[in-house]
């Protein structure tokens, strides 16, 4: 393989692989804290990249509907719970904050986006539109079932995935989206040229991973999450509500999915139903990490990016067969390392 082809493929692999690894980390976080196999993570990535793509064209993204309606639904659901069951809900502050963020995001999207603001403003609007969605999804769909079996939780996640495909198709249509690179041009050194876009992805991934690490090791909320992830029952016994952890995990995961969407928007043409496959590539990383280790999950997902890029070069028709076929030996290998003790019942 000539060096030039190699570097192009390697950069492709790196760019996609890093996005997958952000996704893998976010899926693993949700899984460890809530036991949900978050298959709709990829749909959030798609939604985020479509939102940004629409906004950069100066059109109001259809996401405003999702953000607005979900925020309303959370408020109504809580008001109903309050009135019907008289339940003392101490989280009103949180709900109102989420509703306020949603309202600001929706208004900003409607009034600012058509003025063709700088890219960074559109990115911020995208983030502000997406985060309340992740919050609302947990509150509406997963909090009422937090004690259900992992299988039920998986079904709920799949149902959300369905709803997302439908919504995205409805709001954005069946066409593919792709935006021009944020930083065009290439850096040439030693007869190798690297696009600035790839360097940007590398830089941003490092920033995200570092801030996550700081969050988990320094903040009390991060420690709450770690405690819930390591041992749910134990965390509950020392007074940590699993729902507290659940909502934080979903919001952080939503943040990472949004960033993934923003990063992947210029590198790949995406369609409304690409989310599932993207999620699955994240899952391969999660499995490589033994469904427990963040660094291994991230490295594994990075590997998926490379395998994908190189197998696309050698045998493009069998690319996906190779990528998903790889998952089976990896599963067997990881499961055999765990032995018989890790028997998480799924029924």
């Amino acid at each position: 393989m000539p060096l030039i082809v190699f570097t192009i493929l390697a950069q492709d692999g790196l760019a996609n692989g890093l996005v997958y690894s952000l996704l893998a980390v976010s899926i693993l976080l949700v899984f460890l804290v809530t036991r949900v196999l978050w298959v709709a993570a990829g749909d959030l990535v798609i939604l985020s990249s479509f939102t940004l793509a629409t906004a950069t064209r100066g059109d109001v993204p259809g996401t405003v509907w999702i953000t607005g309606l979900l925020a309303l639904a959370v408020l109504i659901a809580n008001a109903a719970k309050h009135l019907l069951h008289g339940k003392e809900d101490t989280r009103w502050g949180e709900h109102i904050l989420a509703a306020a963020v949603s309202a600001v995001a929706v208004l900003a999207a409607i009034f600012l986006v058509p003025l063709n603001p700088p890219l960074i403003v559109n990115v911020l609007i995208t983030l502000a539109l997406m985060l309340p969605i992740a919050y609302a999804l947990y509150r509406l769909a997963f909090q009422p079932t937090y004690s259900a079996s992992p299988l039920m939780l998986l079904f709920v996640a799949v149902a959300i995935h369905y709803a997302f495909i439908g919504t995205t198709l409805l709001l954005f249509g069946p066409d593919g989206y792709r935006i021009p690179p944020y930083f065009p041009g290439r850096l040439s050194a030693f007869s190798v040229s690297i696009s600035y876009q790839v360097l940007f992805i590398v830089f941003l991934t490092i920033v995200v991973i570092l801030s996550l690490w700081l969050f988990f090791s320094r903040s009390i909320l991060g420690k709450v999450l770690t405690a819930t992830a390591v041992n749910r029952r134990g965390a509950q016994l020392v007074g940590i509500s699993p729902m507290r952890g659940g909502v934080v995990a979903f919001v952080i995961s939503g943040l990472m999915c949004t960033i993934s969407g923003i990063l992947i928007a210029p590198t790949t043409t995406l369609y409304y139903d690409s989310g599932f496959i993207i999620s699955l590539k994240g899952f391969i990383g999660v499995v490589l990490g033994g469904m427990a280790s963040f660094p291994l999950a991230a490295i594994g997902a990075l590997g998926v990016g490379f395998v994908e890029a190189f197998s696309a070069f050698y045998t493009s028709t069998y690319r996906d067969v190779i990528v998903f076929g790889l998952l089976i030996p990896i599963l067997l290998w990881r499961a055999s390392m765990l032995g018989a003790h890790h028997d998480e019942d799924v029924h």
């Binding site: 196999l37 996906d320 998903f324 067997l332």
Partner: protein, 585 residues
């Protein structure tokens, strides 16, 4: 379960005749529902019975469809020849995939089914001889006596006839000896202790589900006369799963109800929404997802869960005139049946059992006591094969069994109860006890499906009833196990253990939760069993109970034996008093 099904069969027969009178549009819907119900029946076996969620059933349907499409359209074989080939190919692939992945636990298995579901789908689309993403067309449709399978009415009737046969076979299978074991698969530790090879049974269910899906694939290929990969994607597998959840995975009724409700909601949305909102758009998937979430929140057991309460329930009954099951050649009283020599169990750096020796003799009641955390339960698990010793030797009649799985040890005549009761809550008390006799029967899947196991079933049920009578619960045989009080559940466990015709009976805290009279009755039963020559090991906290009952006592503390002897000798032992009451002042 089976009784409800017999109730449902007339309805299915009526549906088979329906295509003759229904308007054409409805016939096509009915055909699709039936086709989906065949696949969903397999999913009920997997998800509802074995506790395995498969995201790959559409891929198996694809294997059946592509096999026949290739052989008939490209090679010129007759469709009648390719039916068994299609089923065999899917069955064989299912067996290979299952043998590799079925041992995976929980989430790993779910992800594995996704992985091969996707891989097979992409293979269908990329193998050149399967026609790529256009698939294979011009598949001939089989016809008999002017009835062509490509005809909508004929197709629908054939599909529902197939479904009827499939449902009958599955209901028969689940009712029998192997079926009871299958329905206990979600309680693997208990099932293994009753002598059930759980992995092998799971694999068989997996293969059956693959064959059912491939039957649907074959029917579909010859009806549509084209196959394309898009019909066998993971999205379609997800549809099947949702139908099963909607219908209720816990019963075969759900396998039929689910596809109906699914189709009803879907077509309702497709036609109703544009009329209602005056706009056409893809609201279908969105609203469908929301409905699914609501169903999962509000009615987790699906449609059949709502309907089941109304349907009559047939309860298996015992016929006392049935010929008794053959008994194992009993051991002579006073034989050293189980020998434990120098057994040590480490959990990481923690030593739970340290250099332990003991002998369990027939015709003797041996008690094992000790403070909480002394290692009693660990020892229990080591003897029964649930856990394996780090070092040392365990012999049953001179044969080393350490490291052997629980079902092998059960087969050698060791039967047990559990400290935390392990009954199958959905089965009746009688069926639970009959599970104990699993190893004493022979009937497999095939003889159950064709109803050839009636004679043996009657013998097993009679044996189960006999053991229930023995523990004083004979009247409760028709109740669901989950409605019994805890003490009664413990007695059911003892009856189940006795149904296996054991030589040694290992009881883990059998008297906990029993009232005084029940306790007396249990004591009398155990003495009688001892007189019959059974060896009994009993772990118990109730000192009165155990002191009066046992011939020999072993006291454990921190994993080591600190005393052994007659109850009186142990009661007087200084170290035992110290262990229980603390050092003397």
């Amino acid at each position: 379960m089976s009784g409800r099904l017999y109730f449902a069969f007339p309805a299915v027969v009526a549906v088979i005749a329906l295509p003759l009178v229904l308007p054409f549009g409805w016939v096509s819907t009915l055909g699709h529902v039936g086709l989906n119900a065949i696949v969903c029946t397999g999913l009920v076996l997997l998800a509802g019975v074995a506790g395995i969620t498969s995201f790959g059933q559409a891929a198996f349907a694809g294997l059946g469809a592509y096999t026949t499409a290739y052989l008939t359209a490209r090679m010129g074989f007759s469709p009648f020849v390719t039916l068994p080939v299609s089923l065999l190919v899917a069955g064989a692939v299912g067996w290979v995939i299952g043998a590799i992945t079925i041992r995976l636990s929980g989430h790993y298995l779910v992800l594995a089914t996704l992985a091969w579901g996707l891989s097979l789908f992409y293979l269908f689309g990329s193998l050149p001889f399967l026609g790529g993403f256009n698939g294979i067309s011009e598949i001939p449709s089989p016809s008999v006596l002017n009835a062509d399978l490509a005809d909508q009415r004929v197709f629908t009737m054939v599909v529902w006839a197939c479904l009827l046969v499939v449902l009958l076979g599955c209901a028969n299978m689940l009712r029998g000896r192997t079926g009871r074991a299958m329905r206990s698969l979600r309680f693997a530790e208990m099932a293994e202790s009753m002598g059930v090879d759980t992995n092998q049974l799971k694999l068989r269910l997996f293969v059956i589900a693959a064959i059912l899906a491939s039957l649907a694939g074959w029917l579909q290929a010859h009806f549509l006369t084209v196959v394309a990969p898009s019909s066998f994607s993971v999205t379609i597998s997800l549809d099947y799963l949702f139908m099963t959840v909607l219908g209720g995975a816990a019963s075969l009724v759900g396998a039929v109800a689910g596809p109906f409700v699914f189709e009803f909601i879907r077509s309702g949305l497709r036609e109703g929404i544009p009329q209602l909102l005056g706009v056409s758009g893809n609201f279908e998937l969105l609203i469908f997802g929301i409905i699914m979430i609501v169903v999962l929140h509000r009615a987790r057991s699906g449609v059949s869960g709502l309907v089941m309460g109304w349907l009559p329930r047939s309860v298996p009954k015992a016929d006392p005139s049935a010929q008794p099951l053959d008994r194992r050649r009993g051991a002579a009283s006073g034989e050293d049946f189980i020998k434990i020599e120098n057994v040590t169990k480490m959990f990481g750096g923690f030593c739970a059992v340290k250099s332990f020796d003991a002998t369990i003799r027939t015709g003797e009641i041996l008690g094992l006591i000790g403070p909480n955390g002394a290692g009693k339960s660990t020892l229990f698990n080591l003897i029964t094969g649930v856990a394996h010793p780090t070092s040392g030797r365990i012999e049953i009649r001179g044969e080393a069994v350490q490291g052997k799985p629980a079902r092998i040890i059960a087969a050698k005549g060791v039967s047990r109860t559990f400290q935390h009761v392990h009954l199958q809550p959905d089965l009746t008390v009688l069926e639970n006890v009959a599970l104990g006799a699993y190893r004493r029967g022979r009937a497999g899947i095939v003889s159950s499906v064709f109803g050839l196991d009636r004679h043996e079933e009657a013998r097993m049920m009679a044996e189960a009833q006999r053991q229930l009578d023995r523990v004083g619960l004979g009247k409760l045989s028709g109740e669901k196990a989950s409605v019994l009080a805890l003490g009664q559940q413990r007695l059911v466990e003892i009856a189940r253990a006795l149904a296996s015709d054991p030589i040694a009976l290992l009881l883990d805290e059998p008297a906990a939760g029993l009232r005084h009279q029940e306790r007396e009755a249990l004591g009398a039963l155990l003495r009688q069993l001892k007189a019959e020559g059974m060896g009994i090991l009993i772990v118990e906290h109730d000192m009165n109970f155990i002191m009066n009952l046992t011939d020999r006592l072993i006291v454990l503390e921190f994993g080591s034996k600190i005393a052994e002897g007659t109850p009186d000798a142990v009661r007087a032992d200084a170290r035992v008093i110290e262990a229980y009451l603390g050092p003397a002042e």
